[in-house]
């Protein structure tokens, strides 16, 4: 790869149009531990982690074949480097000058039109990334999130009101999914009659290998349909806000100017799609892992309940590490460098395996156990640091705090069981989860 080509790419603009290809030259054989196979991604996480553990111990940066059964396979793709230890995940995440996002961040290979429609600043580099990000970041600062907290608490209370007497629910569907989705729709100002469409489409986006959501249809068809639906909703909101500005985030985005230019309808649509997934599914699945963990380790639940206010913040960090619902993101190297003894060439893809990083035994004691008192807890559940660190982390924590306050003070003797996992290599999701508890009213002798 000549430097001239690298220089010719305008990385400042994200390098969308000129693609820096990867090469098989000077690459080792594919690693004998194959983390690209479909079979690997059908395993439960504990099983996968046995292989990750071997990679962490022996070959923390390993050369892997391209992901098997990709949504849109690329015959020219030679493979990627798999990063399985926290140290390298963190190092590469923070070095966004060498490892860029503008050539894509999704592990699987997805249709280009879908990526353009969905990724927004997730797949951009600076300075454009920072300009766009700052626009939204101002809506998610600690102070802004505190302003939303009353509303979030109220929503969480209402949601637990709705199920408190049931005694048996599907936690993922009846509770976990609703708080983040309602909060997202309210922050964005999605009209009430479009909430269900928004929720369904946001799920279609990340469901590219899940048979239940696909229902026999091709993954790219479902994805593009879902992205189109979200663009349609964003388009309606765009027209509406131009006529009648309000005080929601969407209006702020419609009115915002970057270097004297406003975002167009397509850019706003991509923003909306990214947010609809990032703000919702992540928190939903983290809640499910948290109740599963507290069912398996009741002593952890008891510890948290002894001093909820004093302990919940630390517990939430552990919920996020324990769940690690975003499993993979990738970067592309744009200059020659070395990583853990491996020679990285321009165009090489590197993939973060966050689940593996969060089970790194050199950093976390008994990593497969949930330990709510874990401190320090330098997990990579919000990413490994750097400019793409999770923008919504404050909001996510606020929602988890509100939800678990309601659960642990009102229906604390729950048992979560029988999870149905989402079958993808991106989101470690739980689509259904049996959840049994003593109904709230049963504690009231007047109702007996």
């Amino acid at each position: 790869m000549s430097n001239a080509l690298i220089d010719a790419v305008d990385w400042d603009e994200g390098g969308d149009d000129v693609f820096l290809p990867a090469t098989l030259e000077n690459k080792p054989d594919y690693d004998e531990i194959d983390v690209s196979s479909s079979a690997f991604w059908k395993m439960e996480f504990a099983e996968q982690d046995k292989y990750f553990r071997m990679l962490r111990e022996q070959r923390p940066v390993s050369w892997q074949r391209p992901v098997e059964d990709a949504v849109t396979p690329d015959p020219d793709d030679p493979g990627y480097w798999a990063l399985t230890r926290l140290k390298e995940i963190s190092e590469v995440s923070r070095n966004s000058d060498t490892y860029v996002s503008g050539q894509g961040v999704i592990f699987d290979m997805l249709p280009k039109i879908f990526l353009t429609m969905t990724q927004s600043f997730l797949a951009m580099d600076n300075p454009m990334h920072n300009k766009l990000r700052k626009l939204v970041a101002s809506a998610f600062t600690p102070k802004q999130v505190r302003r939303m907290e009353d509303k979030i608490r109220q929503t969480a209370k209402q949601l637990v009101d709705d199920i408190a007497e049931a005694g048996q629910i599907d936690f993922a569907v009846d509770l976990a999914e609703k708080l983040p989705m309602i909060t997202f729709c309210e922050i964005m100002g999605v009209p009430r009659e479009r909430w269900e469409d928004t929720i369904a489409a946001a799920q279609g986006i990340v469901a590219w290998a899940d048979p239940e959501i696909l229902q026999g249809r091709a993954p790219d068809e479902v994805q593009i349909e879902a992205a189109s639906m979200l663009h349609e909703i964003a388009g309606e909101m765009y027209e509406e806000r131009l006529r009648n500005p309000t005080d929601d985030l969407f209006t702020a985005l419609v009115q915002a100017e970057i270097d004297g230019e406003k975002l167009d309808e397509a850019q706003l649509g991509a923003f909306f799609v990214l947010m609809s997934v990032a703000a919702t599914d992540t928190t939903k699945h983290t809640s499910s892992y948290a109740v599963l963990g507290m069912t398996r380790q009741p002593e952890q639940r008891a510890w948290l309940m002894e001093d909820f206010d004093g302990r919940i913040d630390r517990a939430i960090e552990e919920f996020i590490r324990y769940g690690t619902v975003v499993m993979t993101f990738r970067r592309t190297a744009i200059e020659e460098t070395e990583l853990c003894g491996q020679q990285i060439m321009p165009g090489d893809k590197v993939v973060f395996f966050y689940g593996s990083g969060n089970r790194d035994e050199t950093v976390f004691e008994n990593p497969s156990e949930m330990n709510l008192a874990r401190d320090p807890n330098p997990h990579c559940g919000f990413g490994g640091g750097g400019v793409h660190f999770c923008l919504g982390s404050n909001l996510a924590k606020s929602m988890l705090r509100a939800l678990f306050y309601e659960i642990l003070t009102r229906i604390p003797d729950f048992k979560a069981s029988n999870p149905t996992y989402l079958g993808t290599n991106f989101m470690r999701g739980i689509t259904h989860l049996d959840f049994a508890f003593t109904p709230e009213k049963a504690e009231n002798p007047g109702d007996a």
Partner: protein
């Protein structure tokens, strides 16, 4: 030796992890930029300031001798 907080403006993305750790010292403005409310933190603010520095995902914060 008194310490002063230094912000690398090229790194800061205005995420506000620092404000969450030390709200008396750091504040994100409505335009997304970060303001240091007090450049020379007092001794009893130091724990929170260290937490903010260690917790900054973009490593934009440091303490220097003044």
């Amino acid at each position: 030796m008194p310490k002063k907080i230094v912000v690398d403006r090229n790194r800061c993305t205005g995420l506000g992890m620092c404000e969450a750790a030390a709200p008396d010292v750091f504040e994100i403005q409505p335009d997304g930029s970060m303001t240091v409310l007090c450049e020379h933190p007092s001794d009893d603010q130091m724990d929170a300031v260290h937490e903010a520095i260690d917790g900054c995902p973009t490593e934009a914060l440091s303490l220097v001798d003044d």
